[in-house]
Symmetry: C2
Subunit: 356 residues, 2 copies
């Protein structure tokens, strides 16, 4: 493969000049510049980013380690991060931790060895020694969506506390009294936060907090189904189930359907995380939507700030309740099938769902 040397020879100049043209750094005569560019064209020269990175100690690349690539929340997040980074001239290398600390560490290690300029991490439960090391060494690191306790790392996340309060109030207003929650893992900051917000919301509405109405799941569909089953098997089953993420909501939905129960007739269903196809379910699912695009954008900006040595503040955005029909009251006066916008859609979306 042609190198800068070949280009130089062909253009009758030195490698330094070629490099200067390619990075339009110093002044170069219009004429030599043209000659060099012609040579580049003729040889089909493609700069070797590996060599460049070695010399400049910069890769124009950031790493993104997400929790689970099959979870639409993370997919959308990845997409947003990617868009923003590309805009700033950075590539993104995605690692899928699959919610396993060991695999998360595999990617963190690989990305560090590849010398990414910065790292966006949605940390899994445990604080692994590796992550601790990275934090200690002060590499440009930003947590996204989730935090880890006791580590001083800037975090970009959404706070659902208010929205969960609204949701519980919404349910209570519709006459639901036995509201249950299928929680995420207590080890995850997002899991904890949602559970705490839920119990606080119950108290705020004057509803009793029953431990058996909080079933632990792991953010995966199967655990949502199992949690719902345990709830519905109780001597006094709930009249509303709130799932801690979209996958568990799906699981709960399956269990409710399998028992031939009607939504929202027999039991209301709501979900944390709003995903595109919730509007297509029958009934459409009431959900708490996070400003995913904005999260991705802000995370990238925060990371670039850290990379460039600018100070960075933590970012906390608000999640928002999106009322649909799975909790009872028809919220959409236009009737079924009318376009139902998700949180953020059409608001500050620069390129929504691709008009093409």
């Amino acid at each position: 493969m042609a190198g800068v040397k070949d280009v130089a020879r062909r253009a009758g100049v030195s490698v330094a000049t070629v490099s200067r043209v390619l990075n339009d750094s110093a002044r170069v005569t219009a004429e030599t510049r043209a000659r060099v560019l012609a040579a580049v064209e003729e040889l089909g020269y493609r700069p070797n980013a590996v060599a460049r990175s070695l010399r400049t100690d910069t890769t124009r690349t950031i790493g993104l380690v997400i929790g689970d690539i099959l979870n639409p929340f993370f997919t959308e997040l990845a997409r947003a991060v990617e868009d923003e980074a590309r805009g700033a001239g950075y590539s993104v290398v995605i690692g899928n931790a699959d919610e396993r600390a060991e695999r998360q560490d595999h990617y963190v290690r690989t990305l560090l060895e590849q010398r990414v300029d910065g790292l966006l991490l949605c940390p899994t439960a445990e604080v692994t020694p590796l992550v601790r090391d990275v934090v200690r060494d002060g590499g440009p690191l930003v947590f996204l969506d989730r935090t880890l306790p006791g580590l001083d790392v800037p975090t970009v996340r959404a706070d659902g506390t208010a929205a969960i309060g609204e949701l519980v109030a919404h349910l209570a207003a519709l006459g639901r009294r036995r509201i249950a929650f299928v929680s995420g893992p207590a080890l995850l900051s997002t899991g904890r936060e949602r559970t705490e917000a839920f119990t606080a919301a119950l108290r705020a509405c004057g509803l009793p907090v029953r431990p058996d109405y909080v079933q632990a799941g792991d953010f995966q569909a199967a655990s949502g189904r199992a949690g719902a089953a345990r709830l519905l098997d109780l001597p006094e089953p709930p009249d509303a189930i709130f799932a801690g993420d979209n996958l568990m909501a799906l699981g709960a939905l399956d269990e409710i359907r399998a028992r031939g129960l009607a939504i929202p007739g027999d039991v209301a269903l709501a979900s944390y995380d709003d995903v595109p196809w919730f509007t297509h379910l029958d009934p459409p699912i009431t959900a708490i939507g996070q400003p995913v695009q904005e999260l991705g954008r802000r995370a990238v900006r925060a990371l670039l700030d850290r990379i460039d040595g600018r100070p960075v503040e933590p970012v906390v955005l608000d999640a928002r309740l999106v009322v649909r029909r799975s909790c009872g009251e028809p919220a959409d006066p236009a009737g079924p099938g009318a376009p139902d916008e998700r949180h953020e859609q059409g608001s500050d979306e620069t390129e929504g769902r691709r008009p093409r």
Copy 2:
């Protein structure tokens, strides 16, 4: 950051020896090996993959350029590719072309500059000059899911012809006579193939091929909705709609619902591509599932074969009809809500939906 030199000094050996230990290449005394490893540990040494790649001219990295990261088909594909590649000691860098040739080229270029060892490409419609160049230069390239005409590149894909035949026969057997299709872009090999299979299947069933029953879409939800609208506005509207991919099926579903039509009562609905939540819709959608995991795996293997200079054959797997209830006949004797396996689930899946 500590380098191999620092490790060498600390261990009292030369850099060559350190390298040997780290790559356990030649023989090294157990004692010196231990000393080196200790030094590595103490210094928290992390090898610089950039330098290593420069020297060895190998990055242990493959590129994957997919059509649309928000399309669950591609997400699942990415996941499968990633798993297989990791197993073989390779990292995957994903690029999201967003179905735009210009963005596809951006990633192809970037990945080549980063000197990936091989490239997995789901090509967008046009044959861009860049792609032509890459093919000419003979870089390790494998097409995935889609082909480009006139280019001699090994391809790994699924063929839905037989399954589409089955689907049309299934519809015909249920008494549907006016079967319509919302097609993908004719520029994409997958779009063309499905349309051709559809008309062939109609003929095979002795049904008329009406041009107005084939509406062109672009694999995005909005076009599916528009296509369905045009179909339902016909003087003689169809009694079955088959959508060319999962996103357009979603659009069609919306349009049908918006008109207050019953599925399958008034109109049957089927989709090419099976996605996890089709089973959660009411009614569950009959779909043609591709062996996505297997596609990903085979693509990686084919690419590694090319990289290692082994000969590689094109791979064509069969898509499979998954009958559910959106076309009429209750296909699932266990009744609603019973576990409904997707194509490939539990078959040769090595790690299905993560038992955790």
